[in-house]
Amino acid sequence: MSLVEVLAPGPLTLLEDAGRPGHMAVGVGRAGAADQDSYRLGGRLLGNRPGLAALEVTLGGLHVRAQGDLTVCLTGAPAPGSLDGRPVPHAAPFTFRDGQELRLGMPPTGLRTYLSVRGGLAVHAVLGSRSSDTMSGLGPAAVAAGDRLTVGEAVESFPNVDVAPVPPPGSGTVELAVLPGPRRDWFARPEALGESCWVVSGRSDRKGIRFEGEPVERHTDWAEAELPSEGMVRGAIQVPPGGQPVLFLNDHPVTGGYPVIGVVRSADIDRAAQLRPGQQVRFRWENR
């Protein structure tokens, strides 16, 4: 049986997969890899069937050892990887032999690197998913030193792809397309969200990205209004009374009581999931 043995997890390494849809009505969110595009690319490059669990490594620092010969792949934030001291490629499969050690450094841009293994990581599934949900506590615990993660059986044929030419996450100002949200009319000037530059706060996590900038003010008609809690989605931008927006990511609360001014276009949410604290964002309003 092949294993990935964790020697050091870095700041935060979680098991994630395609997510856990279908249980929101009982308070369970979808979780799953924050940057789904990068996660899926890793699985595709290895010929995995969709939905197998991979490691989501936040800001590098992961140090693992192979037990048995493995084929692995790094996608997402380009954390420099080294195999027994020699550099490994990004977004390209490579062999990780029995006893070798793989270390990930700090990515120069982006936040989350995916280490995918051919065959997937076969941890215990909860409600059909192997994702860690940091909101509800469901799914596997955060990866810790000493963990031995079993590798699943590879059943698919190997794909004929050597390297995927994907651009790394940007380091400068990132633009995100926003569609009108259900409570856009609660704000004095919703367009204000798109007029200033927002800075990603250090208090951001998988539940949501908090932004700092010129507060978005409520419309006077709604200044004192309270919203009965309502269902939320990944990508929703909630604006609490302080006027500093929060962009919900995969572990967002299932319901929320602050008005949603807009929702980031689904194609852009994966890029949002790679934003680093201190990075700047511009929102561009779109109308479908």
Binding site: M24, A25, G27, P182, P228, V233, G257, V263, S266
Partner: protein
Amino acid sequence: MAGPIPAAASPAPTAPTAPTASASGSAVHPRVLPMGDTALLVQVSDIGEVLALEARLATLVRRGEGVWASVDDLVPAARTVLLVSRPGADLGALGTAVRDVARTLDADMRTLDEDKRTLDADMRTVEIHVRYDGPDLDEVARLVGLTPRQVVAAHTGTSWQVGFGGFAPGFAYLVGGDPRLEVPRRAEPRTRVPAGAVGLAGQFSGIYPRESPGGWQLLGTTDAPLWDPDRDPPALLTPGTTVQFVDVAARS
């Protein structure tokens, strides 16, 4: 994380007693609000309409025909039902379909009866045994002008119904209980509410599935296993379930 928030800012003076109560009396005219390119937020006027609409939508989603095949999640709340679909779904068609369903809820009593039958078939009654020794029992009694004993009698005197979840796995907002038990949340939320605590807030009653912070007025505690991810379904209190609170002290 804040505690469960009573979902209605100014709760209705009387809570609905049956899921179709308000829908059978007046028309259901939902507002279909945008929620990005994979979801719609459907707003109706009260929890009764939410439950009627949600029951009908859940049946359609379960069958999974036509536009309903794209819907992964239905999230009922105090005044809204969120429909979450997969990328690429035709939200325009979905919105039209939701409006059509809402119309038939009102206009076609046969459909309504059918829904009610579906609901009855799905509906389970769960007895929750409670030790009414909560730290807020006296305060609740003072707030509503009853004795603590009368509060317990009111809480156990009529059944409640699961309205919606969403705060935490296994947590359910229970509706349709004795309308005299409407109380505000505590001014100061507790930093630690034990698992199994049974509380009141606004028009709702609820049980904390696990230890968490919270601002509900606590009447007592139960040992009922509200949440077990290895059970199917993992939540004891699923939408539509009828809940009957039972006073352990009165039974023994």
